[in-house]
Amino acid sequence: MLHEITFKVNDETVTLAVKSHHTLLKALREQLGLTGAKIGCENGECGACTVLMDGEPVNACLVLAVEAEGHSIETIENLNKSGELHPLQKAFVKNNAIQCGFCTPGMLMMAKGYLAKNPNPTEDEVREALVGNLCRCTGYIRIIESVLEAAKEVA
């Protein structure tokens, strides 16, 4: 079954034809060419597909594309739209919180969504917030530090 949906992606309104059973992740990657959100497990376990839906972090692999109708989606591609790196991105670069980079878009979007609701988190709160974003390379410590550092600038 095909649906024509209209929704916002990175502040732009788009209209797409999507199949019922296709996920938002598939639509973003294959129909809009927004490949920043990654396929890591398609089960909501790894967080590599994290995007913001109406400002809140969700696993795009667990949202049907058709459900995006009327909503606002933000992906990693939007984070430095001003031309300058977002404070979170700057912190990640400065602190070497990136290795293979595959988990990075999901981490950044999760952090962005989280800081919008909790602008002054403790280390434990950041650890808990990121628990749905798996990283196999960095050991997390620099990612946590970067989020805490960026929180001060974002607030």
């Binding site: 497990c41 089960n43 591609e77 991105q89 980079g101 990075t104 798996l134 990283c135 050991g139």
Partner: protein, 779 residues
């Protein structure tokens, strides 16, 4: 040059940071292939061991949208790195639950999925064996009756008629005569299950076999050149007609080294010539059907004399190599020639075997045999120390290898400083200071473990590099080694910049993707070898380019080349103090007076590195002049707590010290240390769980759990020791694997300190620990 380095030794910003942090990096799955792209799905064996009597794809082929089905009849020629023991698709038998049996190509993933259900395979079940020790016994079911006929490299010794694909023998001194001299002897068995790399990017490959028989393979790959070589041989494609393109890898850890599903995808593409075919492993398939770390059953007997000196060691390592040991044989070999761990012992008897088992293919994984054997070694060392009343750190300092020691294979130990590593780790963790738990219902303990590892390679693995200048004096550096996240592109840029005498910012690593058509040859991105080997090639290429520049300018100025140097992108003469910027001259050359002709021209430098001194080892004794190129050593100390109500372990602090020769980028070394510590910690709790028929039960992230942000220790302290390696660029050698080798035994040692309980068999779990505390009466 005795001047201080400008770029090398500095923690410059990663060269790939900006593109990764903006999400603009393209991994294989992000590459566009257009609307004609077809999708492939793989059929997996439901049986651990069975003959394939008949495979019928008629119904699958009749499904609308299905373009092809391929299987063993399409792949008669064997494939393999060290031992050609399998065909791309199995022909006559399957050897593990999950083995790839056939491939379907269709216009959509859903159709391909549906087609799998329509392929009919008749199997005849055979008895299976899963435990490597049992599989090595004479009465075990035979997985490879034709083992004696397989093509094998001259340094691997399979035992036809058995399941043993490699048997490395180490005989040094006389252990039988040495036991009576020992005051304390510990004999025990340790084991580890299979674990998986769990890269966040699953395996993926796209292949296109053009109608003119040019073949292109895009793969998430640590080994584009090795994959080209192996696939070319097995499918009779001329090397020059097979092109492997490998963009950034989303985590490798060895799992994307050698060959996994890439050859299967090429065969599927051949069936639909002219159209690209993509196969992306689901996370479940990643667990079920790609490579794993081998399981191990290790039997140890170690003795010390009255003064606490290691006197005799006898070890038997049975590695569960899985259904195919084409790469895994080298793991048993490496564990064989390094079987003592980083210790000096005059009498050693080691037998390290790679054994076929009806489980996933045991291939390269971070540590390559070292984490497996150190699990038992480091716990026994603790127990020996305890038995003779010596401090566990003192025991290690007394017995560890030192520079110049004649080590277990008869080789002289190159320069390392393991003592310093031990001291740093012990000091960092507050060794000897018993610290109170951080809260009620917790028991706290500290543990230490040391390690060594050499790059486990064939004797002649080569690296090469090309450097080419642009008009504005930026320089393109071409290499064939892969960025997995370990930071190799950054380190190469630093080496190139330092050697050339130009700023780091002027380097352009021309490496995304690595492309066997354009990139210079690199054996594989494995073995923690790139900083050293590819770094040497880059340095050689830079020296070549540097010489060509200085030669041109020296002739131009009529000066002695020995008086010239390049500093910050400018050629300078120490004698005349003249200066010549590199801009333009590196492409256009330099004009003679009055423009009466020109000198010089485009500067291109090339370089290679291949070790020339690795020798054979005696097949009966494992002795030889030079077994390996070098060793990296390290020490790791862990401070942890056990919750006495649940058994859950919380790691408070890890202190790691590694001797890297030279830290080209110190902060990147620290990031490896941190990532490795968490990976090592996680590995202690990971393990494949099978039912009695060999079917994996926890093949998803729901039940195969890896460390999360909440598991990471509060603090990881990294310390860098630098004992320059003789033939490394600026003295550097690798560290990417070493950082996780001994974390599991360090934790076991800390748990023993906290609870007085030892665990011989991984994985650890809260349940295991709690039930052990209950049995001991602690709770």
């Amino acid at each position: 040059m005795t001047t201080e380095c400008v770029t090398v030794g500095k923690s410059v910003t990663r060269i790939d940071a900006a593109e990764k942090v903006t999400g603009s990096v393209q991994y294989v799955d992000d590459l566009p292939f257009g609307p004609s792209l077809l999708y492939g799905k793989l059929l997996h064996s439901p049986h651990a061991h069975a003959l394939i009597k008949h495979l019928d794809a008629t119904k699958a082929l009749a499904l609308p949208g299905v373009k092809a089905v391929v299987s063993g009849k399409d792949t008669p020629k064997p494939i393999g790195l060290y031992l050609k023991d399998r065909t791309i698709f199995p022909i006559d038998r399957v050897r593990y639950v999950g083995e790839v049996v056939a491939g379907v190509v269709a216009t959509s993933e859903e159709i391909a999925e549906k087609a799998l259900e329509l392929i009919e395979v008749d199997y005849e079940l055979l008895p299976a064996v899963f435990d490597p020790y049992l599989a090595a016994q004479p009465d075990a079911p035979l997985l490879h009756p034709d083992l004696g006929k397989y093509e094998v490299v001259n340094f691997v010794f399979p035992e036809p008629g058995t399941n043993v694909s490699e048997h490395f023998k180490l005989r040094k001194g006389d252990v039988d005569a040495a036991w009576p001299k020992c005051t304390a002897i510990i004999e025990d068995t340790f084991s580890l299950p299979q674990i998986q790399h769990v890269p966040i990017e699953p395996h993926i490959a796209v292949a296109r076999w053009d109608k003119d028989n040019q073949v292109t393979l895009w793969a998430a790959s640590q080994s584009p050149f090795a994959q080209r070589d192996l696939i070319a041989q097995s499918l009779d494609i001329p090397h020059g007609d097979l092109r492997v393109i490998a963009p950034y890898v989303g985590g490798g850890f060895g799992g994307k080294a050698g060959i996994s599903i890439e050859a299967n995808v090429v065969v599927m593409a051949r069936a639909v010539k002219g159209t690209p075919v993509k196969v992306r492993m689901t996370r479940e398939e990643e667990f079920l059907s790609t490579n794993v770390r081998q399981s191990l059953v290790g039997k140890y007997k170690i003795g010390v004399d009255g003064e606490g000196n290691l006197t005799a060691m006898q070890v038997e390592y049975y590695f569960g190599g899985g259904s195919s040991n084409e790469y895994g044989t080298n793991i048993a070999r490496a564990a064989g020639y390094s079987c003592t761990g980083p210790y000096d012992c005059p009498n050693v008897k080691g037998d390290s075997r790679c054994v076929y088992t009806n489980t996933q293919i045991g291939s390269a994984m971070r540590g390559f045999g070292m984490p497996e054997i150190h699990w038992g070694l480091e716990q026994i060392m603790d127990r020996l120390a305890d038995q003779i009343g010596m401090d566990r750190v003192e025991f290690r300092k007394r017995n560890c290898v030192r520079t110049g020691d004649t080590i277990v294979t008869g080789m002289k130990m190159p320069a390392i400083d393991l003592i310093k590593c031990i001291d740093l780790a012990a000091k960092g963790i507050g060794w000897g200071k018993k610290e109170a738990p951080t809260g009620p219902n917790k028991l706290r303990g500290k543990g230490i473990a040391i390690m060594w590892k050499a790059p486990a390679m064939p004797p002649n693995p080569g690296s090469s590099a090309i450097i080419r200048f642009n008009e504005d004096a930026t320089a393109n550096v071409f290499v064939g080694g892969q960025e997995l996240g370990q930071g190799t592109f950054t380190v190469m840029a630093q080496i190139a910049a330092e050697t050339l005498g130009i700023p780091y910012e002027s380097i352009r690593m021309t490496v995304n993707p690595i492309d066997t058509r354009y990139s210079p040859y690199e054996w594989q991105t494995v073995a923690s070898r790139l900083t050293w080997s590819m770094g040497n090639a880059v340095k050689a290429a830079a020296e070549d380019a540097r010489f060509k520049i200085l030669d041109t300018v020296a002739k131009y100025w009529k000066e002695d080349i020995k008086d010239l140097d390049i500093k910050n992108g400018v050629v300078v003469s120490y004698k005349s103090e003249r200066e010549q910027p590199l801009k333009k001259m590196v492409v256009y050359g330099l004009p003679n007076e009055n423009y009466e002709g020109w000198q010089g021209g485009p500067i291109v430098g090339s370089g290679k590195f291949m070790p020339t001194y690795v020798t054979n080892l005696d097949p009966d004794t494992g002795q030889g002049t030079r077994a390996v190129v070098h060793y990296t050593v390290g020490a790791q100390a862990v401070d942890l707590e056990v919750d006495t109500e649940t058994g859950i372990v919380e790691v408070l602090k890890i202190v790691s010290a590694y001797d890297v020769g030279k830290a080209i980028n110190p902060d990147l070394v620290l990031t490896q240390i941190e990532g490795g510590a968490v990976h090592g910690m996680s590995s202690a709790f990971e393990g494949y769980i099978y039912d009695e028929k060999g079917k994996m039960l926890n093949h998803s992230l729901v039940d195969y759990k890896i460390a999360t942000s909440m598991d990471a220790p509060r603090k990881i302290q990294g310390e860098i020791v630098e004992s320059a390696v003789e033939d490394g660029p600026y003295g550097a050698r690798g560290v990417g694997e070493h950082v996780m080798v001994q974390t599991a035994p360090a934790m076991a040692n800390a748990i023993a300190d906290a609870l007085g309980i030892r665990f011989n068999h991984l994985p650890l779990s809260a349940e295991k620990i709690y039930l052990a505390m209950l049995e001991k009466g602690i709770v």
